[in-house]
């Protein structure tokens, strides 16, 4: 039987869509402003900010700003660095933190409760407050690389990766998720004689897709958008990530068009990553946080 939509119903639906669209405009307008401005020459860009032309690709539209941005700074290198560092950190942290959370939730060992409480407590500490002590720690550590043992980690890739491989938020997310899983699964696998690691990799990981996606997105965002730490620890251009590269564009006469072009270019990878994972991410938040 075909559903009959009364005119009242269609009016209500239209109103709902209208509201949704209005709200969507609020969320999207600065980004539209950024992308549209990247195609305008500086003078016009600045003049347009005082009217609604700021959101419209009118006037002298061209890709000049993009070319100029590439001339001013090695944008490709910066994007590569950011993606490289971010990807390695995300992969590493997914593995290490999920394994640790598995241990906290399914294994009994002495000191577990205390350790978990300490980790949760460190959720509070903002990075900026420990940045300088972390710098001191990182300076006194050895690294085994191509040149044998070298002291001090400054100006490398690993200094941007290793300190962030394990963090309390990711562990917390995994712990919350694992707590909701039925214990029977584990017990069944134990009876079959599986080792803990086998249980982890073959029973738990396959069904934990959603929380992996969540943790991946959050970690990706945090690492990609980092500024203070890379600023302190990278000294040659070859290791700089995108947010440090942003400073290249703030000169005595800031070329705002180039800034917008650069910002648009560096926002692209994150947006792409989010769109790619968002199905899994959205459906995943379901199980990670609700049980509290």
């Amino acid at each position: 039987m075909a559903a009959v939509t009364s005119p009242n119903q269609s009016l209500k639906t239209s109103l709902k869509y209208l509201l949704l669209i209005l709200v969507a405009l609020v969320f999207v307008f600065p980004i539209v402003f950024m992308v549209v401005s990247s195609f305008k020459p500086d003078l016009q860009l600045l003049r347009d900010t005082s009217s609604f032309r700021a959101f419209l690709p009118v006037g002298d539209i061209s890709l000049d700003n993009y070319f100029a941005a590439f001339r001013r700074a090695p944008v490709g290198l910066f994007v590569f660095n950011s993606i490289f560092v971010t990807t390695l950190t995300v992969l590493g942290s997914l593995f290490l933190c999920s394994m640790a959370a598995f241990a906290f939730v399914f294994l009994e060992f002495r000191g577990k409760e205390i350790v978990l409480s300490i980790i949760i407590a460190t959720l509070i500490v903002p990075f900026e407050t420990i940045a300088v002590p972390m710098l001191m720690v990182v300076n006194s550590l050895p690294w085994i690389g191509g040149n044998g043992i070298t002291w001090g980690w400054l100006n490398t890739y690993h200094v941007q990766i290793v300190p962030f491989l394990a963090d309390s938020l990711t562990i917390f997310l995994f712990v919350q998720f694992f707590r909701d899983l039925p214990k029977e699964l584990i017990e069944a696998a134990r009876l079959d004689g599986a080792s803990w690691f086998q249980i982890y990799s073959m029973v738990i990981v396959p069904i934990a897709g959603p929380v992996f996606a969540t943790a991946a997105i959050l970690k990706f965002l945090a690492m990609y958008n980092q500024y203070l730490w890379p600023l302190m620890v990278t000294q040659s251009e070859q290791f700089r990530p995108v947010m440090v590269g942003l400073q290249y564009f703030f000169q005595l006469n800031t070329a705002w068009g180039e800034v917008m072009a650069y910002l648009s270019m560096i926002t692209l990878p994150v947006l792409a990553f989010y769109l790619f994972l968002q199905r899994a991410f959205i459906t995943s938040i379901a199980s990670t946080g609700i049980k509290g």
Partner: protein, 360 residues
Amino acid sequence: MRPSQTKSLQSNTLAGWLMSGPALVLITLFLIVPFLLAFWFSFTNQRLISPNPTQFVGTSNFEQLLGMGTLVLEPETAADGSLLVSESGELSYPRVRDFTRNNPDFQHLNGMREWFGWDWGNSRVLVLARDLVFMKALTNTLFFVAVVAPLQSLIALLLALMINQKLRGINIFRTVYFMPVVVSIVVVSLLWRFIYDGRSGLLNNLLQFLSFGHFQPVDWLGNPDTAMWAIIVMSIWQAVGFHMVIWLAGLQNIPLTLYEAADIEGASSWQKFRFVTWPGLRNTAVLILVVITMQAFALFSQIDVMTNGGPLDSTQTLVFQAVQRGYGQQNIAGGSAISVLLFLIVLTISMVQRYLTRER
């Protein structure tokens, strides 16, 4: 028949430490050790780099930050003892600096500045603070958290309710509402500076357009009364999508059968929300409140990019001050002291939140 159980208990410990080991080592090395270092520094006079050796100074950093005093000002009197009243009927009072600078009778107030005060009869009672900028940072941060936590949670809930409808293409809207979360807060701050510009900013233009020209442009970031609110609005804009998604998941976890039962009973929309939806969201609400509170205390990047703590210290925050002192003023000990205080404050508030929202 216990041997297998004892065996699994023992291998539990080994496996437990092995599996959590790498993460624990990393967290200890890169989170806990630096934090303990910062904790240690707050009791010394550590500088970023200095030829002078670092000395232990006990709690003097904290005394400097938290020092407070009180002062009662009597109105100025004429030679015959009667009160001096100005033309507008106001009493005049001696300047605070007469008491706080090189006044031998008030040594304990040396170097303090006026924080706030009130009238008590004819006198003025003043509370002074040794580190006025820190106090402002503290109150601003608490204000920010107190406003953002409920406001952002509420807006996120409203958005989630809007998104939780069976409309075609609703997923697109969900994606769009989440987009600001994806963009770096530094980038967001840069863009919003254009929006907030006092003369030709987009916000002023929009408001003028909507009010048919009656609206006078406001210097959002340059006016001490509006600067913090400007930061609040922008911060909520950027982060609300994330919490909307969490609420959404909570909403979608409520069994539909409960709603069907309410429909049978003839419940109105509001009643459905109050008796079906809201109780089912309890756990979600707790999680969201806790996370928003913690994130709000870490307010830093927006201030760094947009206002630098001004105007007139109206946007000073604890993390911004910690970084300013530690890195800008090269006073690591002072910055670390602020970090320690921040940690204690957030810890206390988190514990209070957990207590208030515990399962009864």
